[in-house]
Point group: C2
């Protein structure tokens, strides 16, 4: 007789749904999920098929984590710090004011113990996490009128959420939570004085410069915000090892390519904005120092009452200091020189 | 009758050999090839099996490209700028003096047209290229005695290769080509005055600080040196599409994780070196300005006689200026502030 039929050893067909916290119009940050999904389909000959849904199609953007936790979808692409309302500790996964820059985030999460600390915390939400992008330091927002001092921050109505908003609040500002589409009319009418969004490439599309031409930098509340893929723990455990490995590599690809894409696009967008009359302004040292002091008071207050925060903050703060000491040597010096020669 | 036997649709078993330009002792940079190989084996259930050989086992480290070009091995992990002796244009793939930092290299290669420009050039050598790591800006070398001025550079015997060596030569120094293992005794005896290697983590192992305690920064000849995988064109074309996709993702993983690993390890190594009496010194503005001027004279001279160089240099130089304009805004400002607060 002929030999036994060849055993079909192929890997399973798996269909997952990913809910993004971002609209398609933010093509670079939204695109990180497409990078992951497209690469996984290509690697597996179409068998591991992740369908990406923009914010709002399955659940609203700020409920992406909840949808994964509950198993409504297998995974999401989101910012950990959107969930600081549940627990401020979520801030560390993306950015906290005066925290790590983009390279330092990668170093901390990948090699400095960050991944273990974060996943221990995230396990309370039934998810595992993967770095899946970075925007680099964001800009410091659009202002109708310039601000120079801490006195100018008093009563300032600024559209900003999360820990950055809490720091502004400690400085006497009145942080506002407004959805992306409502920012422009609010700035135009003067219902708010200022609004933060992302950086030149994303900000340009919304046209804020027409109604609030003072464009401040840096966005000190997010020096290197990381975007994450959160995967439901049960779904993750159900994947064949090969698919898990492909996922890890594709997530790293999404991470490095999103940062590179923003770095490619932002210079051109900023140049166009400047041609359109945008006034580039830097936060004064008085405001930076005041915000830094308020931020670390907030961190120490939280450490006094939130063990999860305290555990991560203690390690993170040591790491941050060591990283800044190192980056102040060769990296800062060559960058400063190169920037002086253009 | 029973149905036809199941068709065996599995992907082929492929065994490749990778020659690294690095010894195993440089674990971080050498490890980039292991990251690629291990991930590809895991993704493919062991079918795509790349065996990694340290420098010297198949061919010497500086002949890695030749081995791939000739098909002795399918791929290598190397620095493009090791081959500037064939054509100075190889410099752009890794680093040229006063060029792009690590993030800017990724932006240029991945999104700024760099990949196409480089691969057009590399096609003359029968290879295709993939980013596969970065060290960040390197340190500026170990000196027996401090140097302050361009006059101090006259007659300086410094171990440095490539375009950095050519710039030193234009400043009146006498660049030396010495293998890694011979640097320490040469510094100790005073046969040479100075030597550049990598950064704190790699340099510490060779103990240069015991015989040349003045540790200069920054390594202006390589602001963000990229490591590459070069794959033989025929070998690449023979891969199933699925393996090509897995390779792309795994190379990006090697790229981002090498940078993160160096960023994690260098601060700790520098702290140990300082405890051992190393004297940290910065290149004077006179030397930096002189080297910058000499470098761009070299670039313009080369553009006058080498069309391949001119084609890439013209595009690269525009990109460099735009990147430095952008990085001088938010990134430089937040980094400077963070470094001031530690």
């Amino acid at each position: 007789p002929a030999g036994a039929p060849a055993v079909q050893t192929g890997l399973p067909e798996i269909k997952w749904r990913l809910t993004s916290s971002f609209p398609k119009s933010l093509d670079t940050i939204y695109g990180g999920a497409d990078v992951l999904a497209n690469r996984l389909r290509a690697i597996t000959g179409g068998k591991f098929d992740i369908r990406v849904f923009p914010a709002g199609e399955i659940v609203p953007g700020l409920q992406a984590l909840d949808a994964v936790q509950q198993g409504t979808v297998e995974l999401c692409h989101t910012c950990s710090y959107y969930y600081v309302g549940k627990d401020k500790t979520f801030g560390f996964g993306t950015a906290v004011p005066f925290g790590l820059n983009a390279r330092q985030m990668n170093a901390w999460v990948m090699f400095g113990g960050g991944q273990q600390l974060l996943d221990e915390f995230y396990s309370n939400y039934n998810v595992v996490s993967f770095l899946g992008g970075n925007t680099g330091v964001q800009m410091g927002g659009w202002f109708r009128k310039p601000i120079h001092s801490l006195a100018d921050v008093q009563g300032l109505k600024i559209r900003i959420a999360g820990l950055g908003g809490e720091v502004f609040s400690r400085l006497g500002a009145i942080p506002q939570q407004i959805a992306g589409g409502d920012i422009y009319p609010s700035l135009e009418k003067g219902t708010i004085d200022a609004a933060e969004w992302v950086g030149p490439y994303d900000d340009e599309k919304l046209g804020f410069y027409k109604v609030a031409p003072h464009y401040y930098y840096p966005g000190w509340w997010e020096p290197g915000p990381a975007i994450h893929f959160f995967v439901n723990q049960t779904a993750w455990a159900s994947l064949p090892k090969e698919y898990q490995d492909a996922f890890r590599a594709a997530a790293d690809e999404a991470n490095v390519t999103m940062m590179a894409s923003y770095d490619d696009k932002n210079p051109q967008a900023l140049a166009r904005l400047l041609q359109n009359g945008v006034k580039l302004e830097t936060y004064s040292d008085e405001i930076m120092q005041g915000a830094y002091k308020a931020a670390f008071e907030l961190y120490n207050d939280e450490a006094g009452k939130n063990p999860a925060w305290k555990k991560i903050f203690t390690e993170w703060d040591k790491y941050r200091r060591s990283q800044n000491a190192w980056f102040s040597v060769a990296e800062a010096t060559i960058d400063r020189f190169l920037q002086s020669t253009r």
